[in-house]
């Protein structure tokens, strides 16, 4: 899957959990840059992304997700 397509799907997941799209999907984007992306919504976002790509993250993956770029590459490694 193309990087842009992955980002688009992530963006959809974020929007559906957070209820807004006030963020730019560049590689450096972190949770701190996005309103409402806290430890609580984080688990919901992770679950949503797992559903959308039909993948399952490992515990170790979760700690690697430092920014959007790393999220994309972890997803690429799984699909």
């Amino acid at each position: 899957m193309e990087t842009t397509e992955i980002k688009e799907k992530i963006s959809e997941a974020l929007e559906s959990v957070l209820g807004h799209s006030n963020f730019e999907t560049n590689d450096e984007l972190t949770a701190q840059d996005v309103d409402g992306w806290d430890s609580l919504s984080h688990m919901m976002i992770i679950t949503k992304i797992e559903e959308q790509f039909d993948i399952k993250f490992k515990l170790r993956d979760l700690n690697k997700l430092k920014n959007l770029g790393s999220l994309v590459s972890v997803i690429q490694g799984k699909i």
Binding site: S39, L40, M44, K58, L59, R60, L62, N63
Partner: protein
Amino acid sequence: MNLQQALSHSITRNLDRIAFVINEQEYTYKDLAESISGIRKIIQEKVSDNEVHIGLIANDDIQTYAAIFAIWFEGKSYVPLDPESPEERNDNIIKQTNIRSIVDSSDVVVYPDYNTISSTMAKGNIDDLEPKQVRDKSIAYILFTSGTTGIPKGVPITFSNLIAFCDAFFDFGIQIDENDRCLQMFGLTFDVSVMSFMLPVLKGARVYTIPKDEIKFSYIFELIQDERLSYALMVPSILHYLRPYFDEIDSPYLKYSLFCGEGLPVDVTEEWAQRLPNTKIMNVYGPTESTMLCTGYTYDKDAKKTHNGVVSIGKPWKGVETIIINESNEILETGKKGELCLAGSLLTPGYWMNPEKNEEAFFYTEYNGKKTRFYKTGDLSYIDADGDIMFLGRIDFQAKVQGGYRVELSEVELYAKEGLHKINAVAVAYTNGVGSTEIGLVIESEKFDLTELSEYMKAKMPAYMIPSQIKFMETFPLNVNGKIDRKELTTIF
């Protein structure tokens, strides 16, 4: 030897060993000693002798931990201030304790209007670790818990409380030595943080903290797997989060898994025990008012002691007395349900400058022929024939519905969870439009059809116990201590 001397000796004995691992960076006991000594020098220069309580910005770095020991070695007490807490709350704490000096390791000083003790660059000689003489009755720390009125309540704990705590903790059967690797997952404004760094330092062991921007449960997993943690005190909600990933966990090194802070469900405990056959699971209990912990239960898979699916909190520790009372402060007999009360050498001298709260929460009664001061925990419990205490929930988790039926919310939860096959659920008592109490159930999941659950609950519980409303929530809100925020859940009804 007093507590400060014991800590100082341990630090000096273990200079080459690693004391803290913070954000993957290792700090030796020598690093810790130099920092302590440097901060002490600034305190001696900038803080007057009659100033007893020192504010501490609760950061996660070696300087902040060093500052606690420095404050103690100077015979003073620390009052942690969470920089992420609302300003009004911190201002109130500062005012109540009359703080004038604040130790701060932040790049930008949080409270510039106070006498700031900047700890970042402080470095001194490791030969200057001898603590000042202090009376054991002196206060070691004051922690603030949320009061029902919205004004935080201060709980002072003395050095003699801490000495009694260490004695009771090791008497319970936990051994920590210089080879141990211990978890410190709590913010410094949460009481059990104190034992999580103090006990390892007392034994020359290693302390692993969790950086603020990391996800706690997955970070703990990596510490268990990669850093070979041998001792961990956690809140049960960590187990809930880890549960979907239990098959990835496998460490022979974790000797002790301790749980505190909320009811420990037996089903997830069983699975944890199966994943980690070398770990001793201990369910420990205690309020801030009784120096962190005061009872404990060692889980035995062949003789599980539970009530409504929640593991027992065991027997009182050394130096602790427990009784169960009714609403008239009368001691109840074995097996009767009532409010758990605590006495003994771990009890706080009383809430900080708060005579009304002290009047409410502490009382004297005749016990074993002696007039004894007890603290009312607000926890609903009973003591079984073996002397093990069963935790049933908060007193206020007990609801009276339909004109007087007493309902234990934990019991509603038990049947709901059975009917839900491992999905988490919380029962709350809420007030309906006409001012009477009803029971609500919140299920941690996306929406699904409730017919099966309703049938199951009807088969198990009398009608008055069945939740009158059921709502879904994808993830439960947690309070600052990492426990499920039941108050918040009540507000959705």
